[in-house]
Symmetry: D2
Subunit: 343 residues, 4 copies
């Protein structure tokens, strides 16, 4: 039984971690911290967990995190980097769902996140936790940087094209759309139902923090720097990301459908639709699945990839548990097998 | 292993039955019928089930239903009553999620559903499948009439009051609100997103088919006829029912909170909130749970009960599986243990 | 031309006042205040107003409110009561969209709003601005207390019954449902799309601030105290209130349909549906209209009234403008004539 | 006073035409046809119009359309082409909101719409009703092909770039998102709230009927054929289109912000946001406005244009009225001046 701790469990990724962990047959949730809700029962904050856990939020300072086998950070950016070293030294493995260890360069982190990195010496060791790209490294990792939600959808959608070198890497376009839970469970006017409901907009066009993360991931796959335009949008719904990805084909005789099917044949959590398909975000709601379709409209020179995930699940919590499973030698789908909720 | 058949699996209750059954450790789904989708893979109609079932819809005439241990009818009203007898005679148990066997009187059925009843001789045998009221009878039943969605929410909300005789039974009010999935997966203008989205309305005020079903259930609990005003409303959301129930207290010294807690102490799927609570429908989304709070505003003479369920789950599919578990001597919560999806 | 000022224009009722006023042919919006957004263009905060106004928010202290003919307060509760006297003394009429002057008794205000009333001497003078009840008094008023959103829907729905004395006044039930804009444009977790979307709940069952306001209004109509149970609910939509009202008939030979039609025959903003109707909130979206249907289900002893308004319009801003029109001798519908947005 | 007829007024574009026309000071709606709803009051089908019109739907055969000054077709594709000639010969001007006269080539129409064109001789005369491109021709036209919703958003977003020749015309990308009302008011499972709510998907990636219309329009602007990838998506909301447009810059010293501002300086219904802006669809809800922002992320070689309209208004009904105003020499904004409904 894996002994698990969670730091910062009152946001949506924390809630989703809890939902998966209370059902996980090989994990035991021992401790969960919160500054704001310390002393309150978890099930009081998240009433869907009534009857599923008796856990109570504890202040971070009082949490026996170092006695856990693995600790998840579901904190704002900038917290895990201050606590990770001590945990690692105590022999506890760390999976950070925030951005602290995603970028390889401390300078890039400083540029995009506006903070000096507190543990730059850990950046090299940290493994980017995208199992479909880094499974072996994850299995041996002490410190996993769980990917961002947009990066997960975009990287899985473009990986076969990058690896096969069939599109022009200088002019990629990732037009991505996210439900409002990507904005977190924070008191904020722009995320009110009355502000985001019945409306649609782009945001962060001049530059979004997931851009360098996506570029970094694509560069590894492509074996060199890529040119990417990334535009995120806010969808009036709770969960789900849909990435629509455009690449200009440099090789016109590749069977794109077959390329994707072969690349993901053995992946338990990537599902390539039949040719002509259009994945819906609701088909992956609450699951660790990524569903992908690839098109070449009018047999022209543009490949269009449609990639959907649940931003809180494969884009955060369930991918973190997939990583935990890999790190602990469990079957990768342990605790992640339920189908999505539809309708 | 229970061998299961489903008749009419392309609506929302069918989809929800499928979602629960593919995860049920003691049930094996053998056959599912559909006229309209015969020959199509289940996972093509419900993409959330890709990877979870290879089943293909078959025409009703070709389905080996009689070799199943139990058959669920997720059909429109009026179908199960024409097929139930043959199945029962073959030794197959039947759980009807439609209304065919809910009313005790064939004449009432004719009045409210506008059809002659095709199997009136089965009405007496049929057991009303509300486990919290009829557990023993269900366990021995061959034919279970699974309760309607509104009746489930209303009956569980009023049962402690009826049994204790603490409210005036002549002037009950049930103001109930349902998500749009209660209207089914049918091509219909009034259920379009553009018609039901961003709006709220009552419907069926002159008389809704669930009214006689609720009255019949209350009468059993109260030991005599009751006077009930029932007003259903349509909420711009997918899943969930919230019943707000009003009764005039005839006894003012009953501790209502304690009454409810004691009545439901041993019920695995009824959760009484602490005093002062307000249950949200999302807290039970996708689950078999009913959450209830009871109030006596300003210590006046009116009891107000708030009762929430997921209309497709406890209001239909998962309650049907709860009944199946009871009928087969399984632990009642088998396959029904996952927490709700929140947010 | 009426010279208009608005105090506190950055909430939803402020936004709605602005939307109506920029189209009003007899009003000129001269000044609008905001502490938080002072110096910012109105159209920057509310982009739907780009091209419709060049106004800039000014700090309250710098606003020449006393030179306006009428000042609307779209402020939190407790502000208007500190500023009204000075304006009235300067000859400016005041319409308060908050609750400061709605309750006749300062002690009741203190009880429900938790503040000492700052201008109790004005309470008697203040006219409750429900035109259908108080038209004559409004036309002469210096100080109008614009009704709350729930009270508007409930009072208009029950007024004919109260005045005619046909229901038992001791056991009224008002089950009311509101879109999320009733909660205001404030940074608040419970009003996030991810918290209120796809869910439904009651709130404030033990006691909501609109209860004493409704009771007071009903008592005037009924000529004596009434017993009312009021339960508000939150609907996952932006605008709209639906009140479902229940009264036990004490007189069974009244033609309810005719009673309502006659009571509202000359009212420009109350529309009684034909017998058997079910009004939808969307039919009044963005308008000053209240639509009502009255039922007597199964010819029983309970009257059920369905009453819908737009909480931001007839429940706040457009009713305030209706009051302004009455106070200035304009045709009552001036600037309020546009039909609702559907779908 | 312009005498107006509408053919096919029971869909969403018909509803929106009605909403605008009942408020139009220079138009008088004389006749509206419907096969399915003949004999029914318009206000019964669209309850927001109660009190605004007494019109009753009449069967097409009985409608005195030829005595109108102008007739709008709000019909399915393929109807206007069978009726237009007779009306034109009677001296009635025709504005078709369907696709019948949008494509210049009858063969293209046949290819994309699967029907032989019934009036190919009118295609040359028909004027494409995008005022910002064709104002002079519209003013003299007898027959106007009102643009599609996606084409309006995309063409207005790309026009300045096309005319200035600053992007590579062979690799344009239009990633467009529409609310569900674009799918019409038809009984259809995929447009149910339970199917489109809380989900997001692309559709028609292999080829959507608006693709040839957009290409044709761009070609005129660019002075030659263009290469365009067009991917439409379905947003879980009622109204609104957001087009995100990508073009590779071939000239890097153009000030894009200034280019857009100058191109649209005198346009009453195109509003260019300040640099760095992100338009929201709700800001144009119910209005004839198109709001646009142009970006050049990280000063790279890709121009990103964000263009929003209300698909039922500027994308259909209000643009048709804008065309009517132009055709009749009225100020272009007559009857189109109200600000959008926000929130």
């Amino acid at each position: 039984m894996i002994e698990v701790g969670i730091v910062g469990g009152t946001g949506y990724t924390g809630a989703e971690l809890l939902r998966f962990l209370v059902q996980h047959p090989q994990a035991r949730l021992r401790v969960i911290t919160s500054r704001g809700e310390a002393g309150k029962a978890v099930a009081e904050v998240f009433p869907n967990l009534r009857g599923h856990t008796d856990l109570v939020f504890v202040p971070p300072a009082e949490a026996a995190l170092a006695s856990c086998d693995v600790v998840f950070f579901a904190t704002p950016n900038g917290t895990a980097m201050t606590m990770a070293r001590a945990l690692l030294e105590a022999g506890t493995r760390v999976i950070d769902l925030a951005a602290d260890f995603r970028l390889r360069e401390a300078s890039a982190w400083h540029h995009w996140y506006g903070m000096e990195h507190a543990a730059p010496e850990l950046l090299e060791e940290a493994v980017y936790g995208l199992p479909e790209a880094n499974r072996a490294a994850i299995s041996a990792a002490r410190l996993v940087a769980n990917p961002g939600c947009y990066p997960t959808a975009v990287l899985l959608g473009l990986m076969p094209l990058m690896e096969a070198g069939v599109v022009d890497n200088t002019s990629l376009v990732a037009d991505a759309k996210s439900g409002a839970s990507g904005g977190g469970r924070n008191a904020s006017v722009p995320l009110l139902l009355c502000e985001t409901g019945e409306s649609f907009k782009a945001y962060g066009v001049p530059g979004h923090r997931h851009l360098p993360e996506i570029r970094q991931g694509l560069a590894v796959m492509a074996g060199g720097a890529v040119g990417l335009t990334f535009v995120p949008h806010l969808v009036p719904m709770i969960r789900g990301i849909h990435a629509t990805l455009y690449g200009r084909l440099v090789s016109h005789d590749t069977d794109l459908q077959r390329l994707f099917e072969e690349r993901y044949r053995d992946e338990p959590f990537v599902d390539v639709l039949a040719a002509g398909g259009h994945p819906e975000t609701r088909s992956v709601r609450g699951t660790n699945m990524c569903r992908i379709a690839v098109h070449r409209p009018q047999q022209g020179d543009t490949a269009v990839v449609l990639s959907v995930i649940d931003n809180l699940a494969k884009g955060a919590a369930s991918q973190a548990i997939q990583n935990m499973n890999i790190m602990h030698g469990l079957p990768e789908a342990t605790g992640l097998g339920a189908p999505g909720l539809l309708p």
